[in-house]
Amino acid sequence: MSEENKTFTISVYTENMVGLLNRVSGIFLKRHINIESLTTSQSEIEGVNRFVIVVNTTEQWVKRIVGQLEKQIDVIRAYYHTDEETIYQESALYKVKSDSLFEQRQVQNIIKDSHAKIVTVSKEFFVIEKTGFRHETEQLYNDLIPYGLMQFVRSGRISVTKEAMQVSSLINGFQPV
């Protein structure tokens, strides 16, 4: 097994419970592994949440982490994938001074070239949204900095896998003993 550090995306399907985030993140804390990003939302199955967690570690460690995650009572299933096995994106929002949009042609070109979307425009500021890979949202960040970026925020990675994850059949197959 490779001992090299790599980016892995961990998908965790869980019951929707208070305190579960604490239990999930604690597994990383206990092993002193930094979480690069974490998002959680309802999954494709009603009542089931999905965490998408990005870590940079070895395959050996990510396997152990997934083992520990699956062991948690309210975790239905956990998987890990490499970048090649997933389709993933991040979203970013940029709040820029309105003056620059009107006064600097450059800014309009930057927005056009980056395929970003203008979400809202007001007298004082406008907000741009860009979804894509990390290097793309970062590029736009660097491009906009000279024009007075008032706020910037980026979401954690959201991802779907190329292969199916059989969570529904797992849940439907459940029978109390």
Binding site: E15, R23, K30
Partner: protein, 577 residues
């Protein structure tokens, strides 16, 4: 008691009744066959204590002298009986005092349900008096935890708590109940939990894994078993013995696994690990097949992983998928309940005997006897040894006692030399190494197995960590036997200081009180022994006593426990001196 509780349960399941949350807690515990629990009251849990008062004929509450004691008593109870131990405490400091015992139960897979009171729901997050986020604090050390904020949740959550605590790989569960939920009334009915869709306690057995395991077992010339507590937790003692006897494979144990088969069994080759026996430690690195059964390759067992059994094929029988390949990469992982997997593999393995290989163990036993055991058990020097005390306890209890040990040198000596004829007999804090465990755990053990002799073996250091539980012994009259092996040192730490820190004895020397007077203060029979000629009769008197008995044995101050694998060294570098 159990049938009575079942009758109550049935009655409760049949027709809902209007009760308070506090009463629902008691009725739920009764429905789970609980007849004893350990705890300490306080503001946020008073409604439940009020109900305990009303139900005292059905549910005995033992007032320990500290909440930590309640958890260890519940653990001792669980470990001897195989039932779920129950501990209870109030919010804030009561709850935080449970943490050590919960962590201990988690790492040693002990089934335990802890119930804590909490401030009323409307005060949560307001830093109310005695508010502590105990669920948050305990999340990493519980198998499951939950905060109940409405009375109607109580039956379902308690049912889940018991199911989770005892199923699969057991562990502690914490249920925190806000005070309003204890007071509110609702229509109570109880249904036991039989499954949770996100939780698979016992993995399905994979026949091909069994076949691969059997193939390796049948081909092996120098196989060796290391078994752990999994055999006991899985109630697989019979299956395990049948497997060992049919295959003729020498079997060594971890301190959590000992007593699953009798100490005197001809294929029992002793203890592995830091202070384990010479033979099984050295031969771990010479065997061609290592069968790990219900154990988890703790670092105190393996020493350096880089040099652990590298020459051997490794087969791991285990219930917890997260344990396979966690520390030691294995060739075959046999997932499942060992009771089932061992029964299934039995017809697939050939009857065998490994006489000359077994002889390798015996050869090393002789070396260990000459260099270590002889001096421990048959000392010729003046000072008393811990080993000779254990030898006399074996003799006087006919190896039938439950031995509860604390943590330190005396623990290692107890595990090395105590002999057992029956399972669930060695109660010790293995994974966490919690000083202060033994005295309260012995109380719980005696209550969980009242027909058995229970002897606690404790160091002078650890004894003083939970010494207040003498009050519990006095009040309940529980006839436990307490042996303090007093070396006036934190012996195990002193040993490390001697061996690895050039004898700089930083804060390990103890100036001790008169332990006999303290025991007598609690009206417990007590004796101190300083000379060898007084030892045997004192041990006899203690074992024959029908009541609790305290025996202090003043042992040699600076004895060391050997064999020893220095931390980070290889199992085959085990030192005999």
């Amino acid at each position: 008691m159990a049938t009575q509780a079942r009758a109550i349960e049935k009655q409760l399941t049949d027709k809902p009744m209007r009760v308070s949350g506090a009463e629902a807690v008691i009725r739920s515990l009764l429905a789970e066959d609980v007849d004893i629990l350990y705890g300490y009251p306080g503001g946020a849990i008073m409604p439940i204590y009020d109900e305990l008062y009303k139900f005292q004929d059905k549910l005995q509450h033992i007032l320990t002298r500290h909440e930590q004691g309640a958890t260890h008593s519940a653990q001792g109870f669980a470990r001897v009986s195989g039932r779920v131990g129950v501990a209870m405490a109030t919010s804030g400091p009561g709850a935080t005092n449970l943490v050590t015992g919960i962590a201990d139960a988690q790492i040693d897979s002990t089934p335990m349900v802890c119930i804590t009171g909490q401030v009323p729901r409307h005060l949560l997050g307001s830093d109310a008096f005695q508010e502590t986020d105990i669920v948050g604090i305990c999340t990493p050390v519980t198998k499951w935890s939950y905060q109940i904020t409405e009375a109607s949740e109580i039956p379902e959550i308690i049912a889940k708590a018991f199911y989770i605590a005892k199923s699969g790989r057991p562990g502690p569960v914490l249920i925190d109940i806000t005070k309003n939920a204890q007071i509110e009334e609702f229509d109570f009915s109880y249904k036991k939990c039989t499954g949770i869709r996100s939780y698979k306690p016992v993995p399905k057995v994979d026949t091909s894994a069994l076949e691969s395991a059997a193939e390796l077992i049948n081909a092996a010339k120098k196989p060796m078993i290391v078994w752990g507590q999994g055999v006991i937790l899985g109630r697989a003692e019979e299956e395990f013995k049948a497997f060992v006897e049919k295959t003729g494979i020498p079997a060594a144990w971890t301190i959590m696994g000992v007593s699953a088969i009798p100490s005197d069994h001809p294929l029992n080759v002793g203890m592995v690990g830091m202070h384990g026996n010479y033979g099984p430690n050295v031969l771990t690195n010479e065997c061609d097949l290592l069968l790990a059964i219900g154990m988890r390759f703790d670092d105190r067992v393996t020493g350096s992983l880089n040099t652990y059994a590298k020459q051997a094929k490794i087969v791991h029988f285990e219930i917890d998928p997260a344990e396979i390949n966690k520390n030691v990469p294995v060739d075959v992982g046999v997932l499942g309940d060992v009771k089932e997997t061992l029964a299934k593999v039995l017809p697939m393995v050939q009857a065998n005997s490994h006489t000359s290989w077994l002889e390798e163990f015996h050869k090393r036993d002789k070396i260990e006897f000459e260099q270590v055991i002889k001096n421990d058990l048959h000392p010729t020097k003046e000072g008393l040894t811990m080993g000779e005390v254990l030898k006399l306890i074996n003799q006087e209890t006919k190896q039938e006692a439950v031995i509860v040990s604390d943590v330190g040198q005396h623990q290692m000596i107890a595990c090395r030399y105590a002999k057992f004829n029956q399972s669930k007999s060695n109660i010790t804090s293995g994974g966490l190494g919690t000083m202060g465990f033994a005295l309260p755990a012995a109380i719980g053990a005696k209550m969980g197995a009242p027909e058995r002799e229970v002897v606690a073996i404790i160091g002078d250091g650890g004894y003083q960590m939970t010494i207040q539980e003498l009050g519990t012994i006095f009040q309940t009259k529980v006839p436990v036997k307490i042996v303090v092996l007093n070396n006036d040192f934190l012996g195990m730490v002193r040993q490390w200081q001697q061996l690895f820190f050039d004898k700089r004895y930083a804060s390990t020397e103890m100036v001790n009180p008169d332990f006999v007077k303290i025991a007598e203060g609690y009206h417990i029979q007590a004796k101190r022994v300083e000379k060898r000629e007084d030892l045997e009769s004192a041990v006899k008197e203690m074992i024959q006593s029908k009541e609790a008995y305290f025996l202090e044995v003043c042992v040699e101050k600076e004895d060391n426990v050997f064999p020893m694998i220095p931390s980070g060294a290889s199992v085959s570098d085990v030192r005999l001196s």
